[in-house]
Amino acid sequence: MKELLIGNAAVARGLYEAGCSIVSSYPGTPSTEITEFAAKYDDIYCEWAPNEKVAMEVAFGASVRGKRTCCCMKHVGLNVAADPLFTLSYTGVNGGLVICVADDPGMHSSQNEQDSRHYAQASKVPMLEPSDSKEALEFTKLAFELSEEFDTPVFIRMCTRVAHSQSIVETSERVLPEDKPYEKNPQKFIMVPANAKLRHPVVEQRTLDLTAYAETAEINREEYADSEFGIITSGTCYQYVKEVFGESVSVLKLGMVNPMPVERIRNFADKVKKVYIVEELDGIIETHVKNLGIECTGKEMFTNIGELSQLSVATAFGMDMPEFASVDTNVPGRPPVMCAGCPHRGMYYTLAKNKITVLGDIGCYTLGAMPPPNALDTTLCMGASVSGLHGYNKAGGKDTEGKTVCVIGDSTFMHSGITGLVNISYNASNSTVIILDNSITGMTGHQQNPTTGYNIKGDPAAKIDLETLCKAVGINRVRVVDPYDLAQCDAVLKEELSAQEPSVIISRRPCVLLKSVKLKPALTVCKEDCKSCKMCMKLGCPAISMHEGKADIDATLCVGCGVCTQLCKFDAIKDGGEC
């Protein structure tokens, strides 16, 4: 059957058809939908793990027991899972194990644009790179076969343009693999030095075997044309090359980007006068080709920053820019903003008002860095706000304690904030941690997490109690505030910052976009009462703007949270109909 699927849904379909039965992942754009779509198949057990390291270790366990299994993550999630990855390469698998990693060139929704192919090379794990949804499905199925044949985890490398582009796939039925019972095998699965020393040569031999496979594999494909030059490429870049050159140029498309073939590249280079390498981010294919002693041109023509496109490929080859129109007027930017009624806004207003230094973290609340409230001072990676705060206060001592906090979301706190809090408690810094608990994983599109009380299917699940958890690691002062109550936020913040011991403030109110949240009617500004003081504008609420000198509330956006009402000294903001 033919279907139009985004790449991530095609991977999920591939998991289903390959008989994969366990998927454990942590959400992260652009990888999230793989696991969400997989969870729609009742035959696959799916879960949101607290972080990517846990997810990969769950996959390891499921593989040891003999099931086909998968874990999915974004590129930076692979950093978190790097520890199990490198040794998983040594143990190999029992049931097939596939790791889907989604890169984000251009950083549409990421804090860096690292190239995951480095991990494949460094961990000596094979990596397949689909260029559209059809290949995403086919490669996923192939990945399980390779995993079991070569006794290795196998990467599927997605990127934003493959993960989030819909194209046509051909679906087929699910085929369950033969059951592979677990047999005790300490030399393979217990990675102590004596055993690991035996496994390392196995890994090296495996790379040789996989290289031999790459020499004949169908997923690596030559498309010869009567051309002067040839292009070696992979993934979405293949599509850009074909868009520009059609059938008029010779192409070697690498479906497997680690390990890469040797003889096939030599043969391809022999048949063309000049070799070009078109690849996004780092020059990994280029380095391989140059190491073979083959002259080629790559990164001197194409940037290693951001995404490529059909246009950047065309212009790099000297083609003209197409004609296009533009306006002379300066078009104001439209950055993403915290939603009207976002529960983070009240706490951010309070922090900005008190001129607090704020170490931030990864999630919707990173938008607090934008003006207003312009409230953040740092953002590094998942969990870094909590550990960073401890370091900042150890360095600053009395100068910074009492004037500095960190903010971290509920899901990010479960991901990797807990260990930072343990450190604050154990190594005693007078730090105040604010958990922005909106009862969901927000930025990636509302995934459940261990604090929400529901699992990936939406069924009731154990609910981690944040207050109890914080107390259990040794934090005596744990306060809960409603971020819609500005006076309460202000009072509790001041109390906890002046306390002479570590503290946690849980700023708790569910994300306003959750269907379970009942919205209130829109508020209105009584024009005659508005004194144009612009206090309400300090919130940076997208529903409030100034029109003809007076504040105005957009009734289609306002959800009646009432935070602006508390700021208005003239009682000009009222329930709809009261003016």
């Binding site: 754009t29 549409h108 296009f324 129109a325 078009v331 950055p335 003006p371």
Partner: protein, 190 residues
């Protein structure tokens, strides 16, 4: 020959349903189709774009500068933001609705009020108040379908096929509103 369409607007305006409708329709018509969008950060009230490309064989999933046959804009400032992507001779269909971006809201800059007339001097613009038409159809949320109705005038696909595709992507209880919204967009005249 590959055709390129862009759907642009403000995160949360409902461009996803529009691209889903278009994708389904084009697949049914037998075309090779690619639809590309970006999820995550940009969805929170930021500028959003969806690319739809179709033809006998489509390679690149994205549209580049000077490549779009048609740009459908849910908001007039967004039409100006993406105009460079329009092919020479292409058409911009835009909703006349104004949604102030945050730099305008906080007074850091002004909304360029004459942006539509400037656009019209440079390229072919088909502007309509899709919000009012959507409300006339029965729901302010049907702006996306009003604009799809307008797009239908640009594509060589029978009206009935659009209606069939609408029935596939819209829940039965909303189909009447959406069919009406589509018709209002299609038949609109100044």
């Amino acid at each position: 020959m590959t055709k390129s369409i862009m759907i642009v607007g403000v995160g949360g305006q409902g461009s996803l349903l529009a691209s889903t409708l278009l994708g389904k329709l084009l697949v049914t018509e037998g075309y090779d189709v690619k639809v590309s969008e970006v999820h995550g950060m940009s969805q929170r009230g930021g500028s959003v774009v969806t690319y739809v490309r179709y033809g006998d064989k489509v390679y690149a999933p994205i549209v580049e500068k000077g490549d779009a046959d048609c740009i459908i804009s849910f908001e007039k400032l967004e039409a100006a933001r993406w105009v460079q992507y329009l092919k020479k001779g292409g058409v911009i269909i835009t909703n006349t609705q104004q949604i102030d971006p945050m730099p305008v809201v906080i007074g850091a800059t002004e909304y360029p009020s004459e942006i539509l007339s400037e656009l019209s001097e440079k390229v072919t613009v088909d502007a309509l108040d899709a919000l009012s038409l959507a409300e006339e159809a029965g729901s302010s949320k049907a702006v996306n379908i009003v604009l799809m109705g307008r797009l239908a005038r640009q594509l060589d696909i029978p009206y009935e096929k659009w209606e069939d595709a609408l029935r596939l992507v819209v829940k039965p209880k909303f189909i009447d509103i959406n069919l009406k919204a589509f018709a209002l967009g299609y038949n609109y005249s100044e």
